[in-house]
């Protein structure tokens, strides 16, 4: 066990070298050549820091205070910067979450890969170029001659991540560290990148340290898994064992919070009252420049939806599918090009700002990013009562209502005079929900409202939304890229691609027995779709067919 390629023993990382402020508390980890070790944990678990420590890339305020990291028996802690640089080039390399920021935007991607060879080998220019071409073919990039000369912005997210992988592997390192490499990618692209990493590992015998928060991804790629919580190792197990027989409560909770890809039982039909509907909603960007004909982009085309009182309608799709465009049109944050939007019996699609104001009350939105959806400079109570004050509610009454709402979303009423930075991401998302509810809307638009949250917090917020819906009879328009989340919360689902509705129907039908090829492709690309995480078994072993 101690003769692995990478051996981390009792690694402790502390803030400012202070023993009481440890962020990684005694990590033990060992990876054999050709093995994939997944490091799993929620935000703040120290999984990325452990990887950065291995690469010698920790920010100066954080330092390892104890333990050892050995690569092929060589101690990395305390190695000279020059030696670390050498090792980073030749023996270990790392790929990151966001390939756009990891690449130099003003240099051609081929040259960026070649640069590594230029500094660390004595190959001739033609040999270097040949090696880069081979590598780019190895990561299955099309038309490598053209790719070589491309700039990062000319490539898709998946292609950029392939370039990053090619760059990481061009020196043939024995260890590849992948820090959430597929988190920023669409699910179909993610599936391709995961299979690429698997393939390269088998071909080259590279050991992979794979960092992720997504249990679905873990089930797809891991050999072994280490679960971290607040810097402490919860357990290390073979992936099959971990998913079937988690040893600690924390792992069990983590698995149980993963939304299942099997749609929940259909709810009984409720009210027939339509709270929101659109008819042939279109949004076109560009076109009609003065001197040049700008290219028209049809962000949404003929989108017709119907949302009943007390029901949840999901819009799923990959990035660029137009799902957020539809939400923003419905909120009138952008103006639709054509079509109608009926909210409570009146068409708001073409109303002027002044006529629109009374209608704003009926429809409210919760955004994705909890860090940015509250004004950091004002107390959360002020954020909550801003809407009601606009509609003439007296301040004292609005404040009293804000306290009630905070309690309704599961926060103490005393939170009212605190600033957003004093709350966690999940708490802020609750406050954002309270702010939306303060207007007593008929419709709540949730635009990727749980996508930025850790899976356990995500489960709590979803539960809250469901509970509020039952109590207040809200119609919820739920926009997400996560099919698992959609399967758990939606009554009906719309699948969008390139601005068009591909499939629209009851959740059980669309996600359970899809008719369209695109929906089928989406579902089959979702990582971990075969696992029933909450029941610790694959769906194929479930006692009754779902």
């Amino acid at each position: 066990m101690s003769n692995g390629l990478l051996d981390i023993r009792n690694l402790r990382i502390a803030l400012n070298g202070n023993k009481d402020q440890q962020v990684v508390k005694g990590l033990n980890l060992s990876i054999e050549p050709g093995q994939t070790m997944c490091l799993v944990g929620e935000s703040g678990s120290g999984k990325s820091l452990s990887a950065l420590a291995t690469m010698g890339l920790l920010p100066p305020v954080l330092s390892p205070i104890a333990g050892s990291i050995k690569l092929k028996g060589e101690e990395l802690l305390g190695a000279s910067p020059a030696r670390m640089r050498e090792l980073r080039a030749t023996s270990m390399s790392m790929i990151f979450q966001e390939p756009m920021t990891a690449l130099n935007p003003v240099a051609r991607v081929g040259q960026q890969i070649e640069e590594v060879l230029e500094f660390h080998t004595n190959l001739s220019q033609s040999a270097r170029r040949k090696r880069v071409m081979e590598m780019m073919e190895g990561v299955h990039l099309p038309d490598v001659e053209k790719m070589y000369r491309s700039f990062p912005h000319q490539l898709s997210g998946g292609q950029r991540q392939r370039i990053m992988i090619a760059m990481a592997l061009v020196m043939g390192p024995q260890l590849l560290i992948a820090d959430e490499p597929t988190t920023a990618l669409d699910v179909t692209t993610q599936a391709q990148i995961l299979s690429l990493i698997r393939e390269l590992r088998e071909q080259q015998g590279t050991a992979v340290l794979f960092i992720t928060h997504d249990m679905g991804v873990v089930s797809e790629i891991a050999d072994d898994v280490t679960v971290l919580k607040l810097g402490e190792v919860m357990e290390t197990q073979n992936v099959e064992n971990l998913l079937r027989h988690p040893q600690t409560d924390y792992t069990r909770q983590l698995l149980q919070a993963v939304p299942s890809h099997v749609p929940r039982m259909a709810r009984a039909e409720g009210s027939k009252e339509i709270v929101l509907s659109t008819d042939k909603l279109c949004k076109t960007y560009g076109g009609g420049g003065i001197f040049t004909r700008a290219r028209e982009v049809k962000a949404a085309q003929d989108v017709s939806i119907k949302l009943m009182k007390g029901r949840t309608l999901g819009i799923v799709g990959e990035s660029g599918s137009g799902k957020s465009t539809v939400a923003r049109c419905i909120m009138r944050l952008i103006d639709p090009t054509s079509g109608s939007i009926m909210v409570g019996g009146s068409d708001i699609a073409t109303l002027k700002q002044r006529e629109l104001k009374p209608q704003r009350k009926k429809i409210q939105i919760v955004f994705q990013d909890p860090m940015r959806s509250l004004n950091p400079r004002i107390e959360v109570g002020q954020s909550i009562i801003e809407g009601p004050l606009n509609f003439g509610v007296p301040r004292a009454k609005a404040m009293a209502r804000a306290r009630e709402l905070l309690e309704l979303v599961g926060l103490p009423a005393s939170a009212i005079d605190r600033f957003p930075h004093q709350f966690s991401g999940g708490q802020r998302q609750r406050i954002a929900i309270a702010r939306a509810l303060a207007m007593e809307p008929d419709v709540l638009v949730a635009d990727e409202a749980v996508s930025a949250l850790d899976v356990s917090v995500q489960a709590q917020v979803l539960e809250l939304l469901a509970e509020l819906q039952q109590r207040l009879g809200l119609g919820i328009l739920f926009i997400t890229h996560d099919l698992g989340v959609a399967a758990q919360i939606c009554d009906e689902v719309i699948v969008m691609q390139y601005g068009r509705v591909v499939e629209y129907g009851p959740a059980a039908q669309v996600l359970g027995a899809p008719q369209e090829d695109y929906t089928k492709a989406l579902i089959s690309a979702a990582p971990g779709r075969d696992w029933d995480f909450a029941n610790f078994r694959p769906f194929s072993e479930a006692p009754l067919a779902p």
Binding site: K357, F367, N390, G410, S414, Q427, A432, R435
Partner: protein, 296 residues
């Protein structure tokens, strides 16, 4: 399903006084700069009571004297005490500097807000701003002063106008990014008026960069005023300012170089201090700069 498992973080508020103290003592250089600036401001403020001689009284018998016990920094070509003149000259320079900064920031903020938030105003206003920025600022100032004559007000306007476009551009860029923030969109969805959105959600985002920009404008206005006076386009020579003291001393540089050097030194030190303080404020208010400091 109240979620009490995650307790709220403790209340914490930093008083403005301790914040200022923190910035001033952030490094020895900043501390020294602050002390120098404080001395300059206090001496200028109380100059009428501090001057050993009348700064404008002509005493032909003591023309161009070197520093002595009576005349600490010597006298100029008309026998006026140089030390008293520099002390009094600071009043004009500092008033011009501070007032130019306040006016430029005020007008720049208003124009920048509208340019950043309302599309059609943006197109028109920013082209005007581009036009204004194309003219060298000293040239523009000289033109304005020669058009309306040299009083403290025209000098002030002449110095302020070329500074406004820079502030407009800064505020506009801040507003352009702030208006895309989800909390601004949430306010739109809550039916807030444009005026309320500007006041509550946009203006606070511009405050920190404006304080910093203000310090630089202040420093550059003091310099511009000195340059204008030196070129003879500044305020009336009967009122001493750091610039016109130097301008008058220029011809006698070989006889008594102190007439040029002493005010020059005071201008340099004052501007250096303001810039250092501006840098310190920027580091303190801009989290990105602080981070860069850590990673260095």
């Amino acid at each position: 399903m109240t979620d009490q498992s995650t307790p709220l973080a403790p209340r914490q508020r930093i008083s403005p006084v301790s914040r200022v103290a923190e910035i001033v003592t952030s490094s020895p250089v900043v501390l020294i700069a602050s002390i120098i600036l404080l001395v300059v401001v206090l001496t200028a403020l109380f100059a009428p009571w501090l001057v050993p001689h009348d700064p404008v009284r002509l005493t032909p018998s003591v023309r161009l004297k070197p520093p002595s016990e009576t005349y600490w920094l010597g006298t100029d070509a008309y026998g006026r005490d140089l030390f008293s003149r520099i002390l009094m000259g600071g009043r004009v320079s500092l008033v011009v500097g501070v007032a130019a900064a306040i006016f430029a920031v005020f007008f720049g903020l208003i124009l920048g807000l509208f340019a950043g938030y309302i599309r059609w105003i943006d197109a028109v206003l920013m082209r005007m701003v581009d036009g204004l920025m194309a003219i060298p600022s000293i040239l523009l100032a000289i033109a304005i002063v020669s058009l309306w004559g040299a009083t403290i007000w025209t000098v002030l306007i002449a110095i302020t106008i070329p500074e406004v476009p820079r502030v407009v551009r800064l505020v506009r860029s801040l507003v352009l990014s702030a208006r895309e923030e989800p909390y601004v969109e949430a306010a739109i969805a809550a039916g807030s008026s444009t005026a309320l959105i500007m006041r509550r959600h946009l203006v606070p985002n511009t405050i920190a960069p404006l304080i910093i920009q203000g310090t630089y404008i202040c420093a550059s206005a003091i310099l511009t005023e000195a340059i204008l006076s030196f070129l003879g386009a500044g305020i009336n020579p009967s009122t001493p300012s750091w610039g016109n003291i130097m301008a008058e001393g220029r011809i006698y540089f070989q006889i008594n170089p102190g007439i040029v050097l002493w005010p020059g030194l005071v201008v340099s030190v004052a501007i250096l201090s303001i810039n250092l303080l501006g840098d310190a404020v920027r580091d303190a208010l801009d989290p990105r700069m602080a981070k860069r400091g850590i990673e260095r």
